[in-house]
C-alpha cells in the first residue's frame, strides 16, 4: 500500500485507509509475513497519529469499526481507541478474546494482560 499525504485526507478517508490497512495486515498475519506486517503496522500508526492530531482527537471515528466483519480490523480499532473510549475498547478486546478465534483471541488477550500489568498505557 503506497504512502500518501495523510493530512490531505478527510476523517472518513482516514477511517477507510485504516480499514484497508487492517485487512492487509490480516493477510500478512495469515501468511506469516512479518516483514510485510511491519510496513503495514507503521502505515497504520501514521493514520492513527494523523487522527489524533486533528482537533478533538478524531480516533473515536474508528469506533464503528467494532462491527467490521474482519476481526483484525476490529482488534486494531479496539487497541487504537483505548485512549479515547477505554470502556468500549476494552469490551471489544474481551469479546474478541472470548470468541476464541486465533490468532485474534491471543493477541487481544495479550493486550489485556499488558493493560492490566501497566505495561501498556494508551495515550
Amino acid at each position: 500500500m503506497k504512502n500518501i499525504d495523510l493530512d490531505k485526507l478527510t476523517i472518513t478517508q482516514l477511517v477507510e485507509r485504516f480499514t484497508a490497512l487492517g485487512i492487509e495486515e490480516d493477510k500478512a498475519v495469515f501468511d506469516g509475513d512479518n516483514a510485510k506486517y511491519r510496513r503495514l503496522y507503521w502505515q497504520m500508526d501514521a493514520v492513527e497519529q494523523e487522527m489524533k492530531r486533528r482537533p478533538g482527537d478524531q480516533r473515536r471515528a474508528l469506533l464503528p469499526l467494532f462491527d467490521h466483519p474482519n476481526l483484525w480490523v476490529r482488534l486494531m480499532a479496539a487497541k487504537t481507541t483505548l485512549a479515547v473510549a477505554p470502556e468500549a475498547a476494552r469490551q471489544m478486546l474481551q469479546a474478541i478474546e472470548s470468541w476464541g478465534r486465533q490468532p485474534y483471541a491471543g493477541d487481544a488477550g495479550m493486550c489485556l494482560v499488558s493493560l492490566d500489568r501497566g505495561i501498556f498505557v494508551p495515550k
Binding site: G32, N34, Y37, K79, Q102, P103, G106, M110, L115, I119
Partner: protein, 134 residues
C-alpha cells in the same frame, strides 16, 4: 477425451483426500485439542507426535544470544509440547510490532529483560493462545 479428463479429476480428488486425511489431519486435530495443564504439556515433551512441536516457553534464540545457559534454555522446565499451528501463531505474535510495546515486537521488548519476565510473557502467551489452562 472426456474419460481422460474425468480420470484426472478423480485422481486429483483422491490426492486431496489423501492430503487432508493423512498429512493435514494430525495438525488440525492437534490444533483443535483443548488446553492442558503445564505439567501435562511438559510431560508430553517425552512423547513427540506429528502435529506437535517442542516449544521453548522462554524463546531460545534470543535467550542464547543474551547469554542464558543451555541448561536453563533446554531444561525440562522450559520445554512444552504444543500444537504446531499454535506454535506458528505464538511465534508470529512474538515477531510482530505491537502497540502494547510502543511499536516493538514482544521479542524486541523482552531483549535485556530477566528470565522471569520472559517466562511470565511466555506463560501468558500459552494461556491466551489456548494451549495452557489458565
Amino acid at each position: 477425451m472426456a474419460g481422460k479428463g474425468l480420470a484426472a479429476r478423480y485422481l486429483k480428488v483422491l490426492q486431496e483426500v489423501y492430503w487432508v486425511t493423512t498429512l493435514a489431519l494430525p495438525y488440525i486435530r492437534a490444533y483443535l485439542s483443548p488446553p492442558k495443564t503445564l505439567t501435562e504439556l511438559q510431560q508430553d515433551v517425552l512423547n513427540p507426535q506429528v502435529g506437535y512441536d517442542i516449544h521453548h516457553i522462554v524463546e531460545q534464540t534470543p535467550a542464547r544470544k543474551e547469554g542464558f545457559s543451555d541448561d536453563i534454555i533446554d531444561g525440562r522446565d522450559n520445554l512444552v509440547r504444543i500444537p504446531t499451528l499454535k506454535h506458528w501463531q505464538i511465534s508470529g505474535w512474538y515477531g510482530r510490532p505491537n502497540k502494547e510495546f510502543g511499536g516493538l515486537s514482544p521479542r524486541d521488548y523482552l531483549s535485556g529483560k530477566s528470565w522471569e519476565e520472559r517466562r511470565r510473557v511466555g506463560i501468558d502467551a500459552l494461556i491466551r493462545f489456548g494451549v495452557l489452562k489458565p
